[in-house]
């Protein structure tokens, strides 16, 4: 299992557009992927669940992956979160 903490950079937070880019990227990995914010956690491959977390700009999230490609998944997805600006 791998995990990493990153800050949401998207100007208006993780609304539909940036979150769907994230979900599409997450689906490319076999590992189970979760996104954790405060006490809430959501399936990183579900746009519905991600939207319930309310990820505003500046929120720090933990991306956790469990599976054969966990390490690549965490590093690629972390980079993605830090670079999506809107």
């Amino acid at each position: 299992m791998f995990e990493s903490s990153v800050m949401i950079a998207a100007e208006n937070g993780f609304h539909t557009r940036p979150a769907s880019i994230f979900v599409k990227a997450a689906k490319a990995y076999q590992s189970e992927i979760s996104v954790i914010s405060g006490e809430k956690s959501a399936n990183g491959k579900s746009l519905f669940k991600l939207q319930t977390l309310g990820l505003s700009k500046g929120t720090t999230i933990t991306i956790r992956a469990d599976g054969p490609d966990a390490e690549q998944a965490v590093s690629a997805l972390s980079e993605l979160v830090e670079t999506i600006e809107d």
């Binding site: 937070g13 579900s46 746009l47 939207q51 319930t52 700009k57």
Partner: protein
Amino acid sequence: MTYIEPLSGIPCSPGVSIARALVIGDDDIVINPTPIEDGAVEEEIARFHAARDAALSQVRAISDHLALSGKVEQQAIFEGHLVLLEDEELEHDVLALIRQSHYRSEQAIHEAIESYAKMVSDLDDPYLRERATDCRDIGARLIRNVLGVQTFDLGSIAEDTILVARDFTPSQTAQISLEHVKGLISELGGRTSHSAIMARSLELPAIVGVKNATLHIRSGDLIALDVEHNQIWVRPDAARLADIRAVQRQYALQREKWQALRDLPALTRDGHRVELCANIGTVRDADSAQANGAEGIGLYRTEFLFMDRPTLPGEEEQYLEYSAIARAMSGKAVIVRTMDIGGDKELPCLDFPKELNPFLGWRAIRIFFDRPDIMLPQLRAILRASAHGPLRIMFPMVAAVEEFRALKAQVCALKDELRADGVPFDEAIPLGVMIETPAAAVLARFLAREVDFFSIGTNDLTQYTLAVDRGNEQIARMYQPLSPAVLGLIQQVIDASHAAGKWTGMCGELAGDERATALLVGMGLDEFSMSAIALPRIKAIVRSLDYEAARQLAVQVRECATLEEVEDRLQAFARQNSGASEAYE
């Protein structure tokens, strides 16, 4: 029937339109609560999958269509919808409800979608909260496909129409053809709802939040939608219709003139520049500030965050709100006034003592000093939000230099705290005083050495200087911001700030009062802040002025002993100036 009184709501996209109504109902969805038989589970699941496939191909078609017509922004919404339709958690939840509770597909979808939508609409961030509409839009589409109900195709509208609905979904607004759709009216939604954002981007006149609009309006009714006055006339009579047509023509003319000025600076004919800003109460007002060409926010009244609620807003909630405003103004400066509660504004979340003279009582920073649990979270939230855009802090009701020093010390201590915690903020955030007590005006030359700016709150400055309660009707005529006593103090404040190399703005009603514009420019006022809607008119006046002439006007007015003399001078100048500026045009 004909309504004598117009309907109204939240004006969210300006303009005036007259056309027939088309009411889009959402009553064509009936959810059957009868459970399915044990043996029918697999069949029901197949029904869901078939509906989902159909929905996917519809949304793909819309997305492709938008891509072809170059509507990239709208297309992105539907790309998101595709991801939502294929969502594995949604599928999992729906199938579980079918298998375990024996729900029909439509009920299972409704149930699953509502549980997400509720969680999303409870979020603190106002922008993310509105995304609940996307969830429900997807739900409605899936259910329509399960039931075999056609999704209404707005592309097929062939005559001029004002659309009326409980709420517009993104798929509906994206299909709107501007050729025939002339306006939007909805029962739900605020200024940041999908319908509102879309209406503004399409420049369609729109009023949202109109209670019971779909009950009062029938398809085919003639509607006069006057967003300028926040009025919706249903089946107006001939006289009313003529009135609205006049408003419509007037609006079109004004708009042309103002539109041309929007991005031009507020510059006098001889090159003296002032700054024109907007007063706002919530993040929702930021768009209209931008649309009317505001160069910044001269007064953001934070007390709206504290009103109508049983508990005080926490630091986090305030931080989100202030950051949202900083971002919405995209790099333009925002003056955040710390909460100005007390006086005529009481709060359910604060235990207010009964006071004989509330305007002379426990108010604004006076509450701050007694209640660090209110002061510190607000100041911290503003400081943190300053990482997202240029914010300035302004303290209301200052009456002594030592008060400002104490507040500044608090800000410095909080900065140390944030720095130690590695929290980003603007180190150089300017601190200013709202000049609204005569004491602050008299002390302006001392305050000017310590502040970064002043902003004159003329409403209270007038009331305190003239000792006239502005809420008391019996003496209402004595409430005169143009009184030589008030003008004298204003001049003193402006001069004191300039002598110390600082600037002075004005955020009271007087700043947006066209009678006073020439005088205030001449007095050397640097920034004018007013309701967004007043901006274009004041800018037009500034641009018609000659600064040298305005300065002479100010010198003459300084010699006026009575209100009448001041008013006569201003009128004479206005007559002269309108002649001069016409010649100039």
